[in-house]
């Protein structure tokens, strides 16, 4: 997968088998504050999400990949590995 593709988040969404609506609900569940429409603009790379928003989306996707028995392929922007 091309990591620098503009719609990389959407590619992950498709791979995770989540509809736009389902991903939005999971994103909302984790504290995401943007609307479903805004989320789509992030996924397709039309608007750049704030770092926190990006990480909420990344984690919603990663938790889904965990449920499917995979690892966490979506990178975070925040420093989640310190200490």
């Amino acid at each position: 997968m091309a990591e620098d593709a503009i719609d990389v988040l959407n590619t992950y969404r498709v791979e995770a088998g989540l509809s736009h609506g389902e991903l939005w609900l999971r994103y909302f569940e984790l504290g995401g504050m943007s609307s479903g429409f805004e989320l789509e603009t992030f996924l397709y790379g039309l608007v750049t999400p704030a770092p926190r928003d990006h990480d909420v989306i990344a984690h919603a996707l990663n938790e889904r990949f965990s449920e499917l028995g995979g690892d966490h392929p979506v990178a975070y922007l925040g420093d989640v590995h310190e200490n």
Binding site: D4, A5, I6, D7, V8, S19, H20, G21, E22, W24, L25, F28, E29, L30, G31, M33, S34, S35, G36, F37, E38, E40, T41, Y44, G45, L46, V47, T48, P51, R52, H54, D55, V56, H59, E63, S66, H72, Y76, L77, G78, D79, V80, H81, E82, N83
Partner: protein, 374 residues
């Protein structure tokens, strides 16, 4: 939402960029404008350009007829070996192009460069999306919780687009409809004409037909020639009277459950080839995604309980973030990152870790009095 006080006029500016012809569209592309667009594209293609760039950045609205015009032009261009670039397509146009199985040769250029996924720039002004579908989602408070399920009108609008696109892309399709199970009954939510509407109604009335079976059983039904068809004895004669010779019904599913069918009717027998069946299946699959997104087939009770659950989780995560903010003296974003870190470190979901953090404060508080006594 549909009241447009100042309908922006459709217009095209033709310029050249090196060896490419650039067509910059503006205003609304629907009805008459779509025919104009088709004619302009045709004459542009007749000039045998090396490549064509369709710039949609000033576009206010792209209707199904406009998409069909682009799709037709695209097919001509592919045949001629001419490349097509669609510049700044909106989210909806993107989806529709993907739905129409846009040729690999066609490039989609978004408004933004592909690099720099983290930038302080406010990008919101660089894309203009005002299609009904998109605007209906964004016109109200962007933070409203009820973004799901989508407004039924919006879903029906999207399904009408699917009908129109299917009709133009499946050869031999004289009429197309979408039937959906709503409140336990099948009804036609989009149809290309009255005959097709009647055709569906006849199936609901007799309780049989490929549309009914596809909607209930969740797999496709194909009647290659109604003259020799032996299934559905009550319905088939009615279809024959209306001049229908072949029917192809593909199931629509939401969350994997059958909820309706995409029906294609033809006045020619044995007209649907394997390739048409595949195209129909692809459209049905895309329509199924729209329906799943919209929460079709999910009862309000189920939807309400999902919201409740989501809201509960969200509250716990917010509380845990607050606890970390206080404990560590950090801001909200840092606290969220800290929560993420803890969740990953413990190999637990964010919710589980948040619950543990919230619980730890309750225990600490309940231990306080005994601590004070002791």
């Amino acid at each position: 939402m549909s009241q447009i006080t100042d309908p922006s006029r459709f217009g095209v500016t033709t310029t050249s960029e090196g060896q490419s012809v650039v067509l910059a569209l503006r205003g609304r592309v629907e009805n008459q404008a779509a025919f104009q667009l088709g004619a302009i594209l045709d004459s542009t293609i007749d000039g045998r350009p090396e490549s064509v760039i369709l710039d949609l950045s000033d576009l206010d609205f792209m209707g199904a007829a406009g998409m069909v015009a682009i799709s037709n032009a695209e097919r001509r261009l592919v045949d001629l070996g001419v490349s097509l670039t669609v510049r700044s397509p909106s989210v909806l146009v993107n989806r529709l192009l993907a739905m129409m199985e846009t040729a690999e040769e066609t490039r989609l250029e978004r408004a933004l460069p592909a690099h720099g996924h983290l930038g302080p720039e406010d990008m919101s002004s660089t894309f203009a999306v005002s299609e009904r579908w998109a605007s209906s989602m964004s016109s109200t408070d962007p933070r409203r919780v009820s973004a799901l399920p989508a407004d039924p009108d919006v879903v029906d609008g999207a399904l009408r687009l699917v009908v129109e696109l299917t009709r133009s892309c499946v050869s031999g399709a004289d009429g197309v409809s979408v039937s959906l199970l709503r409140h336990g009954r099948l009804s036609t939510v989009a149809a290309s004409d009255q005959t097709i509407m009647a055709m569906d109604a006849d199936q609901y009335a007799t309780g049989e037909g490929p549309c009914v079976d596809a909607s209930l059983e969740g797999h496709w039904f194909h009647s290659e020639s109604l003259d020799t068809e032996t299934r559905w004895p009550s319905f088939i004669p009615r279809a024959r009277v209306l001049g229908i010779k072949a029917i192809l019904s593909s199931p629509l599913k939401a969350f994997g459950q059958p909820v309706g069918a995409l029906n294609i009717y033809s006045r020619t027998a044995e007209t649907f080839e394997i390739k048409d069946q595949e195209t129909a299946a692809a459209f049905a699959q895309k329509a199924s995604v729209i329906l799943t997104d919209a929460g079709a087939g999910v009862s309000e009770m189920q939807m309400a309980s999902r919201y409740k659950e989501a809201l509960r989780s969200r509250n716990i995560i917010t509380m845990a973030t607050g606890v970390l903010m206080e404990r560590e003296g950090i801001d909200q974003d840092k606290a969220f990152t800290a929560l993420l870190r803890l969740s990953l470190h413990h190999g637990e979901s964010l919710l589980r870790r948040a619950e543990a953090i919230v619980l730890s404060t309750i225990q600490t508080e309940s231990e306080l009095p005994s601590g004070a006594n002791g």
